[in-house]
Subunit: 187 residues, 4 copies
């Protein structure tokens, strides 16, 4: 994974998703070279850049223009802009414009998680994967319920990571906020 500090940051845009969480997201998304993938709510581009390293093509959507700008910068910094399509707007509208997908990643949804998953499901090829990262108590249960309503079997992983900060006095353990990763495969 790309270290967190290797991402350009801008104050108002959340992300990048922390290294270890990106790592698990990548494992769950099982991207192959020829895959077409989407990152809904691309934020700083943490996931988009990792996707771009593995997939054939990435569609990155965010309704915040600042997010797309910083995602673009991070794609450029890592020489991956050519792999990505940056689309500004609300996910539910912009998703109409993208092709069928091998992977749908939802990193932000703002009250529309259920509809985004359902819309994305229609675009998902057989064997395709949906991954949702959730920092809210409410979206965890919503993601599970929506995936189940689509006859998918959700894999639910709550990840709590603490990182050691090396100091003169010893290794201080600093917690990252817990993130729940919900994923499923279309069969």
């Amino acid at each position: 994974m790309i270290p967190d500090r290797e991402f350009i940051k801008t104050p108002e845009v959340p992300g990048p998703t922390k290294e270890e969480v990106r790592c698990i997201v990548m494992c769950k998304s099982k991207i192959l070279k020829g895959d077409v993938v989407a990152d809904i709510g691309c934020g700083t581009g943490g996931i988009t850049v990792e996707f771009a390293r593995k997939a054939k093509e990435v569609y990155s959507i965010d309704r915040n223009p600042d997010a797309l700008e910083v995602t673009e910068k991070n794609l450029k910094k890592h020489g991956l802009l050519i792999k990505a399509n940056l689309l500004e707007g609300d996910a539910l509208e912009v998703m109409d414009e993208i092709p069928d997908l091998n992977v749908l990643m939802v990193g932000g949804s703002n009250g529309e998680l259920s509809s985004i998953i359902k819309k994305g499901y229609k675009k998902l090829k057989d064997g395709g994967r949906i991954i949702v990262t959730s920092i809210l108590l409410e979206t965890r249960a919503e993601a599970v319920k929506t995936l189940q309503s689509l006859d998918m079997i959700p894999d639910v992983v709550e990840v709590s990571i603490s990182k050691g900060k090396i100091t003169k006095r010893g290794t201080m353990m600093i917690a990252n906020n817990p993130i729940t990763i919900i994923s499923a495969t279309k069969v």
Copy 2:
């Protein structure tokens, strides 16, 4: 427990220990009304104030004069100054001046954890308890080893707490840094 926000804070002094961790520390210290207790490295006074609510007398030690000042303010704020004795200096030196104890709490040690536990053990009455809170990888193992060298059986609890922050979008889970609480009883 006293809510975290009810403590006066000062920038350079660590603490107060978070509410839920104070709660577990109080459970492990099993303080009775007549108990004499010590808080080594009292910092902001988070533990000292809780101890003062339950015990007969508290000895609060810190080598940082700012810590003693803010601990004093917090004791006053909660009407408990009368229960406490504030002692400035390095734990290993100042501990000579305190009486025998029912509870020894070590919340800061700065490389002297093993010696502080051993010195405190001598002051500990039969049935007395030692509690160590550790935020460093190194002091966790050191506390266990030292307690074992004194023929005590350490109870080791790693506590990871996340608190829900209610926002318009939902309940965002915010992690506190993990703390390990090591405790033991003198038999």
Copy 3:
């Protein structure tokens, strides 16, 4: 707190709630000597017994007769049976029979969490507290939502505890399942 091993266990009944979680539940419930409290879904009696040590009177409800039997045994074992009233049946029905409360604890609900909270709220005296312990992703969000619908401000604490098992090779860290404690005060 009473150590976990001091509770009589029976295979089919869940509980007792682990020591450190009971400890935080007790802190959040702020029981005073004269309080009347209820434990909905008392299971093994882990919370009921702790409540009985502090409160004037405990109403313990469970629809599983085996749960009431083992709760009764644990109350007897700790000499607290006199403080408790054991009521068999579904919470929503049995709650009609209990008096007004200072504390409502919900440790089991089986799909009726929202209704139990709402019914309990009516029985709650001013200044009274509701505490919900949740091991399911779904009930966490439901508890928050229901408390908010009653104009209460939920305090949400996710607790992950690992306990050190002392072995010849060192201190092995063994995780307890995470529990979310949602609590609120009636103002």
Copy 4:
């Protein structure tokens, strides 16, 4: 990653390392196609099999013959036996027989962690990585200290994973034991 259930298990041998932890270990080990890697304490083969999928050659060491047997079975099951060299014996002795490494993974050490790291460091090529997984309080600090004594900068990640178990009543969160992953690069 290979799902946990896709590994052949035998009662007395620990492992496989859980999917999400394997995933982070793989990220930290940054294996390239031509790499030669070692898995000290291969146990069930959880890490060995993942290494074999990515690296040119894996050296798997365990002093428990049962561990080597089940690791061999798992390599066969995944069609990767050809990539692996299975060596029985205590790590400190057997490590003499292996070539220079791009990655040294230590998943078991039994009191010899510091010596194993030091011996492995000598075999490590420039740019090579050391990864230690630790379930003991004591080995965490020992790994950090040893890596620092070799002028390496340890990356310390404590990983607490809970997995959702889908039940009729909802998604029950089940904790895996916390694991600390300590890694460093030879510069």
